[in-house]
């Protein structure tokens, strides 16, 4: 039988936890708003840039257009850019993305190397003995393109130097406050038929598959400038999506924790009341018993 004082101590600690999780929930709630706004602001540009890239890649004779568009005959090494969070206490957010990446790439037919973004993802991947060639952590709370462009550049460089033959981007897509989906996107070489049915249909309908661009100033100059930059931009957008997802996941996790703590607190309060009543009852019995004994004498 729990004694009243012990129960009281537990109630106090549960209440403390509830207070902390409630505070974290409030913080995440404001952060998720900011992250969502930032993400929605940059989304149109990133989406358009991706469209332009797929248009370029969809052209016939793409193979000699730009090195980043060339599909290699033999894939010997794969690079995965994994975007996770720096901090825990975000529910299953970090565990989900790591499980997702391992499901997809653990039994991959060629060796897989990783670039990790975020401390949690890095630690979990190291623990599982994965080959990490670079890691980026402690990103600013509201990253600018310049803060993360080096991640994309590194992926591009690895691809160009021939160290890897394809690059995948794994991040958490922000759908809404309660739903964030891990996704994998093939970054390099550019894939044309990556579910961009609308674009393909559009191209067919409007200028046939054989239409090619007029380039100004020159094909090489312009492709050299935009293809690597737009590729890096996709990484940036993935970071923004992941960040919003992380805050949303944390907010929901903290909300659940607060609710659980409140519930547990109520149950413990009942236990405490019972224990207290019981002790009073037994004390009264003692007194009554003593009085009875005295009266009989």
């Amino acid at each position: 039988m729990a004694n009243a004082r012990e129960v009281l101590l537990r109630i106090r600690s549960v209440k403390n936890i509830a207070q902390v999780t409630r505070a974290l929930q409030a913080v995440s709630a404001s952060k998720v708003q900011k992250a969502m706004q930032a993400m929605y602001r940059t989304r149109p540009y990133a989406t358009k840039a991706w469209q332009v890239l797929t248009h370029i890649a969809a052209q016939p004779g793409r193979t000699n257009l730009h090195p980043l568009l060339i599909e290699r005959d033999q894939i010997e090494n794969t690079l995965v850019v994994l975007i996770s969070g720096d901090r825990g206490l975000a529910g299953a957010y970090n565990a989900n993305i790591v499980r997702f990446v391992l499901n997809n790439f653990a039994d991959y037919e060629v060796p897989v190397r990783y670039i990790t973004v975020g401390r949690r993802g890095r630690d979990m991947m190291i623990r599982r003995g994965q080959d990490i060639i670079a890691e980026f952590s402690d990103l600013p709370a509201a990253p600018e393109f310049a803060d993360v462009s080096s991640i994309g550049r590194l992926a591009v460089d690895e691809f160009l130097s021939g160290n890897v033959d394809e690059v995948h981007l794994v991040y958490t897509d922000f759908v809404n406050m309660v739903r964030q989906d891990p996704v994998v996107k093939k970054l390099l070489p550019l894939e044309v038929d990556s579910g961009e049915g609308r674009v393909a249909a559009f191209d067919e309908a409007h200028h046939g598959p054989e239409a090619t661009y007029i380039y100004e100033p020159g094909q090489e100059q312009i492709l050299d400038e935009i293809v690597p930059r737009f590729t890096a931009l996709q990484v940036y957008q993935a970071v923004m999506e992941s960040l919003a997802s992380e805050h949303a996941a944390r907010m929901v996790a903290m909300k659940n924790a607060t609710e659980n703590a409140t519930e547990l607190g109520a149950a413990l309060q009942l236990d405490y009341n019972k224990a207290r009543q019981q002790s009073i009852t037994s004390e009264m019995l003692d007194i009554a018993g003593g009085a009875e004994a005295l009266a009989q004498r």
């Binding site: 370029i56 409007h206 239409a211 100033p217």
Partner: protein, 151 residues
Amino acid sequence: MPIRCEIVSQDRMIFEGEADTVVLPGTEGEMGILPNHAPLLSALDYGVILVRYQGTEEAFTVAGGVVEVQPDIITVLADRAENVGEIDISRAEAARERAEKYLAEGPPPDSDAYLRMEAALRRSRLRLDAARRYRGRGARRAGLPPVLEDK
């Protein structure tokens, strides 16, 4: 048949709508794009984009970027862009003075700060020019109240 025009900068959607003609500041010179243009991919210089539609005209400043033209859509991916009506003239003027003063002091060229200031100077000059030339004109034609000029 009008052509669709979308102008996005890195941090927001600037313009989305129909157009009869769009004039763009390409690096190789100004280009006027009409509907059913051949696919074109061009770098953009500092300059002004004019979107004309049914007798109205809207002007946007753009500080470099890329444009993709398809027969029925023009997509402008600008490094920076804004509607001329949004330009804060006094702020642009202040920015220009600051940049001119800094550059007049003769800091070492090729340093980051120098290049940044030079870019800022180009941008503020572009804004001021565009505001002077296109303010009010397009807005009045579009049936909007004329923008109040700053002193």
